[in-house]
Amino acid sequence: MTSTVKPNPWIVGLMAAVLFLSAFLPSASAEEDVAAFLATLDNASAELRYPAWTTAEKYGPAVIVPLGEKMESADRSKAQDLKRAMERIVHSAARPEVKGEDRPPRQEVADELCKLLTPERSPKVKNEVLDLLGFIATPKNLPSIEPLLADQAVSEEACRAIQRIPGRAATEVFEKYLNASPDPCKPRILAALGQRKDPSAGPAIEKFLGAAKGDMKLLALGAMSKSGALPPKQLKVHLDSLGKEVSPEVKANIRLRFADNLVAYGEYKRAERIYTSLAQNKKIGEQIQIAAKNGLEALKDK
């Protein structure tokens, strides 16, 4: 365990008091407040930094970029407090609006975070910023984030951030990069499309499926079934083409999910056919037969 700098408790108290009063003293300009806040976060002592990062929300979007810049050269201990300061600003700005409440503007905070995604910033900083953007970014921020899907140093975190953004626009980004990104990035984009549970992604995945082979085809079928989309036109052909290397249970689980999707679309007869064939198939695990019978049972109410 490395030792941490132990400051004089009187100094800690004094620093906390100065930070607290600086927010209320009429003589202190906003710029001076921000400068004092940032200087405190530069301190080698974690205890001296504590009162600054735990009250960071009051400084709002103005300090986002300076905090990110400081993160570039900060040691791990300081960098985590800088991130915690940014987190507090993000959570404060993203909370539901209350009438008459003074709060940092959400979109402005997200926009400031995006300013830290430029090429001169290190992957270390960009990954931390992307983590935060996952909780506050809106579709307006997608143009800043989406190019990073093709940058292998940060594409994983970019994928996670976009996945958290609700709405069709974020799904469209994944659809676009499903073809445009390097091959090693494709599995995570397929997974993201499945996890979003946005059935409108179906046609784009089906198109990709047409050219996919082997594991990529299996991943695409899995993603499409999880997205809630209707089954592809050639579902049986696609499943058969996976060969005997892929177990009947894996194929059956994909068919089960597509049957559920058909039910959601009101296509009960097609769903019934899939459930019935799985329920009667004695060559697959009994758990699949149980699931298919449960599907048939639920159809009785339709």
Binding site: E47, C159, N253, Q287
Partner: protein, 434 residues
């Protein structure tokens, strides 16, 4: 699970099913109760239930039993220790070892799995195990995200699995006595339960470094965002990070809340408003759970509340426990995990004729074994386990976001809080997702 490739050997269950039925027909002249016979998915009363233990670090090693046939862990040191433990339990058998749980689930001769990984792996492995037809004992807290919880309930029901969650407090005699006492109205109407626990740990700062050769760090992280290895983050210490174990409220709160919900007969998902306040750690160490924490849960339909407080008002010398505040009296239950101690008045209580009879567990693991054979729901089934986890997750989230949260069970969403709703599910990472 899409990438899992199953073999197609004759399964032990189908083999046992056939031999048990043929054998019974030849040898036994009398009618045999149906629960004694093996059926597909139902081992007979005398069948050995073959278990694979997934996650065999500290807690997981304790789950290894004479029924263990395989162990799995991302740390080779854990595996080596687990093999020794299994030898002791099985009289010298060398069990199979795996680094990837998916290979374990491919084995047709594994009937059931015990999952004792760090929390962020519970949901994914459990759902995949159900898809592979295994019954499951999953350590508490059952899930790491609210979406995972729903998926775990769905998978259990869909595939007809028997799932027990490891909040074993419900299987202790004292929790049974407390439950009987409270449910029969001995305290009068109970509208409030207060829970106490000692504060969370505050760590030091250790620099990041390369993971040791025996550890697959990427697999350990699994669905979580990738970050560099740090010895203070891994294994037991995952408890002190909001991203992973998230403090005592999940570690021990999952025991305490389990007993609270059982006594209050409130395992189902109901609307709840949650407020939280806590003290972030001051030391500058890498742990980020709050040292002190107070969370208030106000339930509707019916209206009652739970207060979780660290440190809170202790109801005795124990580090944690709960107090049921009734209209006429109160009852203290200390602990709530495998160690649970309540008051004499509850231990000596006999329900009135026609009163509420509470199921008495033969032991948590035995209850699971019994239910695997009978296909009934265990005492701490997945619905109860998810409900408990939900309390832990929403409580911590109210602290993280620093605002009250209102949960709508019908919509499975937070009311009017778009950011909170982004926490409902994890985006997963790479190949690691539901």
């Amino acid at each position: 699970m899409d990438s899992i490739r199953f073999q197609k050997p004759v399964t032990r269950r189908s083999f046992m099913s056939k031999t048990a039925q043929v054998g019974a027909a030849l040898a036994l002249p009398t009618i045999i109760p149906s629960h004694v016979l093996a059926k597909p998915g139902r081992p007979g009363a005398n069948d050995r239930i073959r278990i694979a233990n997934i996650g065999v670090g500290g807690m997981g090693r304790g789950h290894i039993s004479e029924d263990t046939i395989a162990v799995c862990d991302v740390d080779k040191n854990h595996l080596a220790q687990a093999v020794e433990r299994a030898k002791e339990k099985t009289g010298g058998t060398v069990v199979d070892t795996y680094g990837d749980y998916r290979r374990v689930l491919e084995r047709k001769d594994v009937d059931a799995v015990v999952i004792a990984t760090p929390d962020h792996w519970h949901g994914i492995i459990m759902v995949h195990a159900c898809q592979a037809g295994k019954d499951v004992y999953v350590e508490k807290p059952a899930c790491h995200t609210l979406e995972e919880g729903k998926a775990m309930i769905d998978a259990t029901n869909r595939y007809g699995r028997v799932v027990q969650v490891g909040s074993q407090g419900r299987s202790t005699p004292d929790a049974h006595a407390a439950c009987t006492y409270v449910r029969n109205g001995a305290l009068g109407e109970v509208k409030k339960v207060t829970c106490w626990h000692v504060p969370n740990k505050e760590g030091g700062f250790e620099p990041d470094c390369d993971p040791p050769a025996e550890l697959d760090w990427d697999f350990w992280l699994g669905p979580m965002r990738w970050i560099p290895y740090n010895p203070e983050r891994c294994h037991f210490n995952f408890r002190w990070f909001l991203d992973y174990g998230a403090g005592y409220i999940r570690d021990r709160g999952a025991h305490v809340f389990s007993v609270v919900l059982w006594c209050m007969n409130q395992d189902r998902d109901t609307p709840v408003t949650v407020t939280a306040k806590g003290t972030p750690p001051k030391s500058g160490g890498i742990f980020d759970v709050p040292t002190e924490l107070e969370i208030v849960y106000k339930f509707k339909d019916p209206e009652w509340e739970v207060v979780w407080a660290q440190p809170g008002d202790r109801g005795g010398e124990w580090d944690f426990g709960m107090i049921f505040h009734g209209a006429n009296d109160k009852l203290v239950v200390r602990g709530g995990d495998g160690g649970c101690k309540t008051e004499e008045k509850a231990l000596n209580y006999t329900p009135p004729a026609g009163g509420v009879e509470v199921f008495k567990s033969p032991g948590h693991k035995q209850n699971w074994y019994d239910c695997i054979r009978s296909r009934e729901k265990p005492l701490m089934d997945i619905v109860a386990g998810v409900r408990v986890s939900q309390m832990c997750i929403i409580g911590n989230l109210a602290y993280i976001l620093n605002r009250p949260l209102e949960w709508d069970p019908a919509k499975q969403q937070f009311v009017n809080d778009e950011e909170a709703n982004r926490y409902i599910k994890s985006p997963g990472r790479g190949q690691y997702h539901l």
